[in-house]
Protein backbone atom coordinates (compact mmCIF):
# COMPACT_ATOMS: atom_id res chain seq x y z
CA UNK A 1 0.00 0.00 0.00
CA UNK A 2 2.72 2.37 1.06
CA UNK A 3 4.87 1.44 -1.93
CA UNK A 4 1.93 1.94 -4.21
CA UNK A 5 1.45 5.42 -2.84
CA UNK A 6 5.13 6.26 -3.24
CA UNK A 7 4.91 5.08 -6.82
CA UNK A 8 1.91 7.33 -7.27
CA UNK A 9 3.84 10.29 -5.89
CA UNK A 10 6.68 9.62 -8.31
CA UNK A 11 4.22 9.32 -11.15
CA UNK A 12 2.59 12.59 -10.14
CA UNK A 13 5.93 14.39 -10.08
CA UNK A 14 6.68 13.08 -13.54
CA UNK A 15 3.27 14.18 -14.77
CA UNK A 16 3.77 17.59 -13.28
CA UNK A 17 7.09 18.00 -15.06
CA UNK A 18 5.65 16.84 -18.35
CA UNK A 19 2.55 19.01 -18.14
CA UNK A 20 4.65 22.04 -17.26
CA UNK A 21 6.76 21.35 -20.31
CA UNK A 22 3.60 21.04 -22.35
CA UNK A 23 2.17 24.30 -21.01
CA UNK A 24 5.30 26.38 -21.38
CA UNK A 25 6.91 25.01 -24.52
CA UNK A 26 4.57 22.82 -26.54
CA UNK A 27 1.38 24.84 -26.46
CA UNK A 28 1.37 27.68 -29.01
CA UNK A 29 1.32 31.31 -27.88
CA UNK A 30 -2.15 32.79 -27.98
CA UNK A 31 -2.51 35.48 -30.64
CA UNK A 32 -4.32 38.29 -28.87
CA UNK A 33 -3.27 37.76 -25.26
CA UNK A 34 0.26 36.53 -25.78
CA UNK A 35 2.21 34.53 -23.24
CA UNK A 36 -0.02 35.66 -20.41
CA UNK A 37 -2.56 33.22 -21.67
CA UNK A 38 -0.36 30.38 -20.45
CA UNK A 39 -1.73 31.07 -16.96
CA UNK A 40 -4.73 29.22 -18.34
CA UNK A 41 -2.91 25.91 -17.84
CA UNK A 42 -2.63 26.56 -14.13
CA UNK A 43 -5.72 28.59 -13.56
CA UNK A 44 -8.36 26.19 -14.76
CA UNK A 45 -6.84 22.94 -13.43
CA UNK A 46 -6.48 24.59 -10.02
CA UNK A 47 -10.13 25.56 -10.07
CA UNK A 48 -11.10 22.04 -11.00
CA UNK A 49 -8.94 20.49 -8.27
CA UNK A 50 -10.35 22.90 -5.69
CA UNK A 51 -13.83 21.83 -6.72
CA UNK A 52 -12.94 18.17 -6.27
CA UNK A 53 -11.51 18.86 -2.82
CA UNK A 54 -14.60 20.72 -1.67
CA UNK A 55 -16.80 17.90 -2.86
CA UNK A 56 -14.70 15.48 -0.84
CA UNK A 57 -15.00 17.79 2.13
CA UNK A 58 -18.78 17.82 1.89
CA UNK A 59 -19.08 14.05 1.58
CA UNK A 60 -16.66 13.46 4.44
CA UNK A 61 -18.60 15.89 6.64
CA UNK A 62 -21.89 14.16 5.97
CA UNK A 63 -20.32 10.82 6.74
CA UNK A 64 -18.84 12.25 9.92
CA UNK A 65 -22.18 13.51 11.21
CA UNK A 66 -23.67 10.15 10.45
CA UNK A 67 -20.96 7.79 11.64
CA UNK A 68 -18.96 10.04 13.97
CA UNK A 69 -15.69 8.44 12.94
CA UNK A 70 -12.45 10.35 13.23
CA UNK A 71 -11.27 9.13 9.82
CA UNK A 72 -13.86 11.08 7.88
CA UNK A 73 -13.22 14.12 10.03
CA UNK A 74 -9.53 13.90 9.19
CA UNK A 75 -10.41 13.63 5.51
CA UNK A 76 -12.71 16.64 5.79
CA UNK A 77 -9.97 18.70 7.40
CA UNK A 78 -7.40 17.61 4.83
CA UNK A 79 -9.61 18.27 1.82
CA UNK A 80 -10.64 21.69 3.11
CA UNK A 81 -7.04 22.75 3.51
CA UNK A 82 -5.92 21.47 0.13
CA UNK A 83 -9.00 22.87 -1.57
CA UNK A 84 -8.39 26.24 0.04
CA UNK A 85 -4.85 26.22 -1.30
CA UNK A 86 -5.93 25.54 -4.87
CA UNK A 87 -8.76 28.02 -4.60
CA UNK A 88 -6.23 30.61 -3.49
CA UNK A 89 -4.14 29.82 -6.57
CA UNK A 90 -7.18 30.45 -8.74
CA UNK A 91 -7.84 33.74 -6.99
CA UNK A 92 -4.24 34.82 -7.49
CA UNK A 93 -3.75 33.67 -11.09
CA UNK A 94 -7.15 35.05 -12.14
CA UNK A 95 -6.44 38.72 -11.36
CA UNK A 96 -2.89 38.41 -12.67
CA UNK A 97 -4.42 37.31 -15.92
CA UNK A 98 -7.26 39.81 -15.79
CA UNK A 99 -5.08 42.86 -15.32
CA UNK A 100 -3.33 42.73 -18.74
CA UNK A 101 -6.30 41.22 -20.54
CA UNK A 102 -9.25 43.19 -19.22
CA UNK A 103 -7.37 46.15 -17.79
CA UNK A 104 -8.84 45.61 -14.31
CA UNK A 105 -8.01 43.29 -11.47
CA UNK A 106 -11.50 42.26 -10.62
CA UNK A 107 -15.06 42.27 -11.80
CA UNK A 108 -18.20 40.91 -10.20
CA UNK A 109 -18.72 38.26 -12.77
CA UNK A 110 -20.55 35.06 -11.82
CA UNK A 111 -17.59 32.72 -11.91
CA UNK A 112 -15.22 35.07 -10.17
CA UNK A 113 -17.67 35.89 -7.44
CA UNK A 114 -18.62 32.30 -6.85
CA UNK A 115 -14.98 31.38 -6.48
CA UNK A 116 -14.48 34.20 -4.00
CA UNK A 117 -17.50 33.21 -1.95
CA UNK A 118 -16.40 29.60 -1.95
CA UNK A 119 -13.01 30.69 -0.72
CA UNK A 120 -14.57 32.83 2.00
CA UNK A 121 -16.72 29.96 3.18
CA UNK A 122 -13.80 27.59 3.48
CA UNK A 123 -11.67 30.17 5.21
CA UNK A 124 -14.41 30.52 7.78
CA UNK A 125 -14.52 26.75 7.99
CA UNK A 126 -10.82 26.55 8.76
CA UNK A 127 -11.08 29.40 11.27
CA UNK A 128 -13.88 27.59 13.04
CA UNK A 129 -11.71 24.51 13.25
CA UNK A 130 -8.95 26.57 14.79
CA UNK A 131 -11.08 28.48 17.23
CA UNK A 132 -13.25 25.78 18.65
CA UNK A 133 -11.90 23.63 21.39
CA UNK A 134 -11.65 19.96 22.05
CA UNK A 135 -14.37 17.51 21.25
CA UNK A 136 -16.78 19.93 19.64
CA UNK A 137 -14.60 20.98 16.71
CA UNK A 138 -15.57 18.09 14.49
CA UNK A 139 -19.32 18.44 14.86
CA UNK A 140 -19.35 22.20 14.47
CA UNK A 141 -17.06 22.05 11.46
CA UNK A 142 -19.10 19.33 9.78
CA UNK A 143 -22.27 21.38 10.23
CA UNK A 144 -20.61 24.41 8.69
CA UNK A 145 -19.27 22.37 5.79
CA UNK A 146 -22.77 21.25 4.92
CA UNK A 147 -24.03 24.82 5.07
CA UNK A 148 -21.23 25.95 2.83
CA UNK A 149 -21.77 23.31 0.23
CA UNK A 150 -25.50 23.89 0.11
CA UNK A 151 -24.80 27.58 -0.31
CA UNK A 152 -22.55 27.32 -3.34
CA UNK A 153 -25.16 26.46 -5.96
CA UNK A 154 -27.39 29.21 -4.59
CA UNK A 155 -24.56 31.69 -4.85
CA UNK A 156 -23.88 30.60 -8.37
CA UNK A 157 -27.49 30.97 -9.38
CA UNK A 158 -27.87 34.35 -7.82
CA UNK A 159 -24.63 35.70 -9.18
CA UNK A 160 -25.60 34.78 -12.70
CA UNK A 161 -28.50 37.19 -12.41
CA UNK A 162 -26.55 39.74 -10.52
CA UNK A 163 -26.45 43.21 -12.05
CA UNK A 164 -27.37 42.08 -15.48
CA UNK A 165 -27.49 45.68 -16.54
CA UNK A 166 -23.69 45.68 -16.48
CA UNK A 167 -22.84 42.58 -18.48
CA UNK A 168 -19.22 41.83 -17.85
CA UNK A 169 -16.95 41.20 -20.79
CA UNK A 170 -15.49 38.08 -19.27
CA UNK A 171 -15.90 34.71 -20.84
CA UNK A 172 -17.40 36.05 -24.02
CA UNK A 173 -14.36 35.05 -26.05
CA UNK A 174 -14.89 31.40 -25.23
CA UNK A 175 -11.46 29.92 -25.86
CA UNK A 176 -13.04 26.68 -24.83
CA UNK A 177 -15.06 26.36 -27.98
CA UNK A 178 -12.34 27.11 -30.44
CA UNK A 179 -9.42 25.79 -28.50
CA UNK A 180 -6.41 24.78 -30.59
CA UNK A 181 -5.93 20.96 -30.40
CA UNK A 182 -2.37 21.40 -29.14
CA UNK A 183 -3.61 23.77 -26.47
CA UNK A 184 -6.31 21.29 -25.57
CA UNK A 185 -3.73 18.56 -25.22
CA UNK A 186 -1.52 20.68 -22.96
CA UNK A 187 -4.58 21.64 -21.00
CA UNK A 188 -5.60 18.05 -20.36
CA UNK A 189 -2.11 17.08 -19.27
CA UNK A 190 -2.23 19.89 -16.74
CA UNK A 191 -5.69 18.98 -15.61
CA UNK A 192 -4.53 15.43 -14.97
CA UNK A 193 -1.35 16.42 -13.17
CA UNK A 194 -3.08 18.98 -10.97
CA UNK A 195 -5.74 16.49 -9.99
CA UNK A 196 -3.01 14.03 -9.06
CA UNK A 197 -1.17 16.68 -7.06
CA UNK A 198 -4.41 17.47 -5.27
CA UNK A 199 -4.95 13.82 -4.44
CA UNK A 200 -1.38 13.38 -3.24
CA UNK A 201 -1.60 16.45 -1.01
CA UNK A 202 -4.92 15.35 0.40
CA UNK A 203 -3.67 11.87 1.16
CA UNK A 204 -0.50 13.24 2.75
CA UNK A 205 -2.42 15.71 4.85
CA UNK A 206 -4.89 13.01 5.81
CA UNK A 207 -2.11 10.67 6.84
CA UNK A 208 -0.43 13.40 8.84
CA UNK A 209 -3.69 14.01 10.67
CA UNK A 210 -4.12 10.30 11.30
CA UNK A 211 -0.55 10.02 12.51
CA UNK A 212 -1.15 12.86 14.91
CA UNK A 213 -4.25 11.10 16.13
CA UNK A 214 -2.24 7.94 16.56
CA UNK A 215 0.37 9.76 18.56
CA UNK A 216 -2.39 11.16 20.73
CA UNK A 217 -3.84 7.71 21.14
CA UNK A 218 -0.46 6.31 22.15
CA UNK A 219 0.04 9.08 24.65
CA UNK A 220 -3.45 8.43 25.88
CA UNK A 221 -2.75 4.76 26.29
CA UNK A 222 0.41 5.56 28.21
CA UNK A 223 -1.53 7.98 30.39
CA UNK A 224 -4.13 5.31 31.03
CA UNK A 225 -1.65 2.61 31.89
CA UNK A 226 0.75 4.70 33.96
CA UNK A 227 -0.26 4.68 37.59
CA UNK A 228 0.02 8.43 38.02
CA UNK A 229 0.48 11.43 35.76
Amino acid sequence: MKQLFIAFIVLTLGLLAYSTYQALYVAPTEQTMGDVQRIFYYHVPSAWTAGVCFLVNFLASVVYLWKRNTASDALAAASAEVGMTFCTIVLITGPIWARPVWGIWWTWDARLTTTLVLWLIYVSYLMLRRFSAGGQTQVLAAALAIFGFVDVPIVYMSIRWFRTQHPSPVMGGGENSGLDPVMLQAFFWNLLSFTCVGIVLMVLRYRLQRLEENVEAKHAAVALQGGSR
Partner: protein
Amino acid sequence: MTGTTDSPAEPVIVLEQLVKFFGRFAALRDISDRFAAGRLYVVLGDNGAGKSTLLRVVAGLMEPSQGSVTLLGTRKLREVAHRVGYMGHAPLLYDELSGMENLRYFAGLYGLHNDSVGSNAMQMVGLDPELLRRVGQYSQGMRQRLSLARAVLHDPDLILLDEPFSNVDVHSARAMAAVLGHVRDNGKTIVVVTHQAALIEGVADDFVHMSAGQIVRREAVLRRAVTTNSGAEAVR
Protein backbone atom coordinates in the same frame (compact mmCIF):
# COMPACT_ATOMS: atom_id res chain seq x y z
CA MET B 1 -14.27 -1.53 43.54
CA THR B 2 -13.15 -1.87 47.09
CA GLY B 3 -15.80 -1.78 49.71
CA THR B 4 -18.72 -1.44 47.37
CA THR B 5 -21.95 -1.60 49.27
CA ASP B 6 -24.11 -4.27 47.78
CA SER B 7 -27.77 -3.56 47.35
CA PRO B 8 -30.52 -5.94 46.31
CA ALA B 9 -32.06 -3.62 43.70
CA GLU B 10 -30.63 -2.99 40.26
CA PRO B 11 -27.93 -0.29 40.40
CA VAL B 12 -28.93 3.17 39.23
CA ILE B 13 -25.60 4.00 37.63
CA VAL B 14 -23.37 1.43 36.01
CA LEU B 15 -20.06 2.66 34.68
CA GLU B 16 -18.12 0.33 32.46
CA GLN B 17 -14.50 1.05 31.61
CA LEU B 18 -15.25 4.71 31.36
CA VAL B 19 -12.49 6.82 29.81
CA LYS B 20 -12.62 10.51 28.99
CA PHE B 21 -9.83 12.28 27.17
CA PHE B 22 -9.30 15.99 26.76
CA GLY B 23 -6.80 15.96 23.97
CA ARG B 24 -4.16 13.58 25.21
CA PHE B 25 -5.02 14.13 28.83
CA ALA B 26 -7.09 11.39 30.44
CA ALA B 27 -9.49 13.05 32.86
CA LEU B 28 -11.26 9.74 33.58
CA ARG B 29 -9.16 6.62 33.45
CA ASP B 30 -10.96 3.36 33.11
CA ILE B 31 -13.65 3.68 35.71
CA SER B 32 -15.90 0.70 36.28
CA ASP B 33 -18.30 0.98 39.15
CA ARG B 34 -21.92 0.85 40.17
CA PHE B 35 -24.08 3.07 42.33
CA ALA B 36 -27.04 1.57 44.14
CA ALA B 37 -30.50 3.06 44.44
CA GLY B 38 -31.63 5.00 47.49
CA ARG B 39 -28.20 6.03 48.69
CA LEU B 40 -26.42 9.33 49.06
CA TYR B 41 -22.92 9.20 47.62
CA VAL B 42 -20.35 11.86 48.42
CA VAL B 43 -17.55 12.12 45.88
CA LEU B 44 -14.30 13.52 47.23
CA GLY B 45 -10.96 14.20 45.61
CA ASP B 46 -8.31 16.76 44.84
CA ASN B 47 -8.70 19.48 42.27
CA GLY B 48 -8.50 17.99 38.83
CA ALA B 49 -9.30 14.49 40.04
CA GLY B 50 -12.08 14.29 37.46
CA LYS B 51 -15.12 14.63 39.68
CA SER B 52 -16.92 17.23 37.59
CA THR B 53 -16.04 15.39 34.43
CA LEU B 54 -17.51 12.19 35.81
CA LEU B 55 -20.70 13.97 36.75
CA ARG B 56 -21.03 15.61 33.34
CA VAL B 57 -20.49 12.32 31.56
CA VAL B 58 -23.10 10.64 33.71
CA ALA B 59 -25.53 13.50 33.13
CA GLY B 60 -25.09 13.08 29.38
CA LEU B 61 -23.51 16.50 28.91
CA MET B 62 -20.36 14.91 27.55
CA GLU B 63 -19.74 11.82 25.50
CA PRO B 64 -17.27 9.41 27.08
CA SER B 65 -14.24 8.68 24.91
CA GLN B 66 -14.47 4.98 25.69
CA GLY B 67 -16.69 2.78 27.79
CA SER B 68 -20.33 3.22 28.63
CA VAL B 69 -22.72 4.67 31.16
CA THR B 70 -25.91 2.81 31.97
CA LEU B 71 -28.44 4.96 33.77
CA LEU B 72 -31.61 3.53 35.29
CA GLY B 73 -31.25 0.49 33.11
CA THR B 74 -30.64 2.10 29.75
CA ARG B 75 -27.69 3.42 27.79
CA LYS B 76 -29.78 5.93 25.89
CA LEU B 77 -29.42 8.73 28.39
CA ARG B 78 -31.93 10.99 26.66
CA GLU B 79 -34.65 8.45 27.32
CA VAL B 80 -34.25 8.78 31.07
CA ALA B 81 -33.47 12.51 31.07
CA HIS B 82 -36.74 13.21 32.88
CA ARG B 83 -35.68 10.97 35.73
CA VAL B 84 -32.30 12.65 36.28
CA GLY B 85 -31.58 15.98 37.98
CA TYR B 86 -28.29 17.82 37.55
CA MET B 87 -26.87 20.82 39.35
CA GLY B 88 -23.65 22.16 37.91
CA HIS B 89 -20.81 24.24 39.19
CA ALA B 90 -22.56 27.33 37.86
CA PRO B 91 -26.09 28.09 39.08
CA LEU B 92 -27.87 27.27 35.76
CA LEU B 93 -30.46 29.97 36.39
CA TYR B 94 -31.57 33.12 34.58
CA ASP B 95 -30.47 36.17 36.54
CA GLU B 96 -33.19 38.32 35.00
CA LEU B 97 -36.12 36.18 36.16
CA SER B 98 -37.49 35.68 39.64
CA GLY B 99 -37.17 32.37 41.41
CA MET B 100 -40.65 31.17 40.53
CA GLU B 101 -40.34 32.30 36.92
CA ASN B 102 -37.16 30.31 36.61
CA LEU B 103 -38.69 27.21 38.08
CA ARG B 104 -41.83 27.59 36.01
CA TYR B 105 -39.79 27.65 32.83
CA PHE B 106 -37.66 24.68 33.78
CA ALA B 107 -40.71 22.73 34.88
CA GLY B 108 -42.12 23.36 31.42
CA LEU B 109 -39.09 21.69 29.91
CA TYR B 110 -40.08 18.55 31.78
CA GLY B 111 -43.68 18.85 30.64
CA LEU B 112 -44.88 20.00 34.06
CA HIS B 113 -47.21 22.94 33.70
CA ASN B 114 -48.46 23.10 37.24
CA ASP B 115 -47.27 26.02 39.37
CA SER B 116 -47.36 23.94 42.51
CA VAL B 117 -44.34 22.03 41.23
CA GLY B 118 -42.20 25.14 41.44
CA SER B 119 -43.56 26.42 44.71
CA ASN B 120 -43.18 23.03 46.37
CA ALA B 121 -39.58 22.87 45.25
CA MET B 122 -38.92 26.34 46.59
CA GLN B 123 -40.51 25.56 49.91
CA MET B 124 -38.52 22.39 50.15
CA VAL B 125 -35.22 24.28 50.01
CA GLY B 126 -36.53 26.94 52.38
CA LEU B 127 -37.21 29.76 49.93
CA ASP B 128 -40.36 31.82 49.76
CA PRO B 129 -42.21 31.18 46.46
CA GLU B 130 -43.71 34.67 46.69
CA LEU B 131 -40.29 36.28 46.53
CA LEU B 132 -40.38 38.76 43.66
CA ARG B 133 -36.66 39.57 43.57
CA ARG B 134 -34.78 38.57 40.47
CA VAL B 135 -32.22 35.86 40.88
CA GLY B 136 -29.48 38.34 39.96
CA GLN B 137 -30.16 40.05 43.27
CA TYR B 138 -30.18 36.86 45.29
CA SER B 139 -27.30 36.27 47.64
CA GLN B 140 -24.97 33.42 46.82
CA GLY B 141 -26.62 31.10 49.33
CA MET B 142 -30.13 31.76 48.06
CA ARG B 143 -28.99 31.16 44.54
CA GLN B 144 -27.49 27.80 45.40
CA ARG B 145 -30.69 26.78 47.14
CA LEU B 146 -32.75 27.78 44.15
CA SER B 147 -30.37 25.88 41.95
CA LEU B 148 -30.95 22.83 44.07
CA ALA B 149 -34.69 23.38 43.75
CA ARG B 150 -34.28 23.46 39.99
CA ALA B 151 -32.40 20.19 40.01
CA VAL B 152 -35.02 18.33 42.04
CA LEU B 153 -38.07 20.07 40.59
CA HIS B 154 -39.29 17.15 38.52
CA ASP B 155 -38.84 14.66 41.33
CA PRO B 156 -35.97 12.81 39.66
CA ASP B 157 -34.83 9.37 40.78
CA LEU B 158 -31.19 10.27 40.36
CA ILE B 159 -29.73 13.59 41.45
CA LEU B 160 -26.22 14.73 40.49
CA LEU B 161 -24.81 17.74 42.36
CA ASP B 162 -21.48 19.43 41.64
CA GLU B 163 -20.10 21.38 44.59
CA PRO B 164 -23.45 22.62 45.84
CA PHE B 165 -21.85 24.12 48.93
CA SER B 166 -19.08 26.20 47.40
CA ASN B 167 -19.31 29.82 48.57
CA VAL B 168 -22.34 28.92 50.63
CA ASP B 169 -22.28 29.84 54.28
CA VAL B 170 -22.34 27.12 56.88
CA HIS B 171 -26.01 27.65 57.81
CA SER B 172 -27.29 27.44 54.28
CA ALA B 173 -25.05 24.48 53.56
CA ARG B 174 -26.41 22.53 56.51
CA ALA B 175 -29.93 23.35 55.48
CA MET B 176 -29.23 22.10 51.97
CA ALA B 177 -27.61 18.93 53.32
CA ALA B 178 -30.70 18.28 55.43
CA VAL B 179 -32.90 18.65 52.35
CA LEU B 180 -30.73 16.14 50.54
CA GLY B 181 -31.08 13.75 53.42
CA HIS B 182 -34.88 13.97 53.20
CA VAL B 183 -34.86 13.43 49.48
CA ARG B 184 -32.67 10.38 49.89
CA ASP B 185 -34.98 9.06 52.58
CA ASN B 186 -37.74 9.17 49.97
CA GLY B 187 -35.82 6.59 47.98
CA LYS B 188 -33.89 8.78 45.55
CA THR B 189 -30.27 8.29 44.64
CA ILE B 190 -27.97 11.28 45.14
CA VAL B 191 -24.39 11.85 44.06
CA VAL B 192 -22.75 14.94 45.58
CA VAL B 193 -19.31 16.21 44.62
CA THR B 194 -17.81 18.44 47.27
CA HIS B 195 -14.62 19.50 48.99
CA GLN B 196 -16.46 20.09 52.25
CA ALA B 197 -17.23 16.60 53.40
CA ALA B 198 -17.85 17.81 56.92
CA LEU B 199 -21.01 19.58 55.84
CA ILE B 200 -22.68 16.50 54.49
CA GLU B 201 -21.23 13.58 56.40
CA GLY B 202 -24.25 13.61 58.69
CA VAL B 203 -26.47 12.34 55.92
CA ALA B 204 -24.00 10.56 53.65
CA ASP B 205 -24.21 6.83 52.97
CA ASP B 206 -21.03 6.29 50.98
CA PHE B 207 -17.85 8.20 50.42
CA VAL B 208 -16.28 7.77 47.01
CA HIS B 209 -12.68 8.91 46.74
CA MET B 210 -11.38 9.93 43.37
CA SER B 211 -7.82 10.58 42.43
CA ALA B 212 -6.20 11.20 39.06
CA GLY B 213 -9.24 10.12 37.06
CA GLN B 214 -9.98 6.96 38.99
CA ILE B 215 -12.18 5.88 41.84
CA VAL B 216 -9.56 4.79 44.31
CA ARG B 217 -11.59 3.98 47.36
CA ARG B 218 -15.16 3.66 48.55
CA GLU B 219 -16.39 3.41 52.07
CA ALA B 220 -19.82 3.04 53.50
CA VAL B 221 -20.73 5.25 56.47
CA LEU B 222 -22.57 4.00 59.48
CA ARG B 223 -25.60 6.25 59.57
CA ARG B 224 -25.44 8.40 62.70
CA ALA B 225 -28.48 9.88 64.30
CA VAL B 226 -26.97 13.27 65.07
CA THR B 227 -24.91 15.60 62.97
CA THR B 228 -21.22 15.39 63.74
CA ASN B 229 -19.49 18.29 65.29
CA SER B 230 -17.20 19.54 62.58
CA GLY B 231 -14.26 21.82 63.09
CA ALA B 232 -16.11 24.71 61.55
CA GLU B 233 -18.93 24.24 64.02
CA ALA B 234 -16.57 24.25 66.94
CA VAL B 235 -15.21 27.62 65.95
CA ARG B 236 -18.46 29.49 65.56
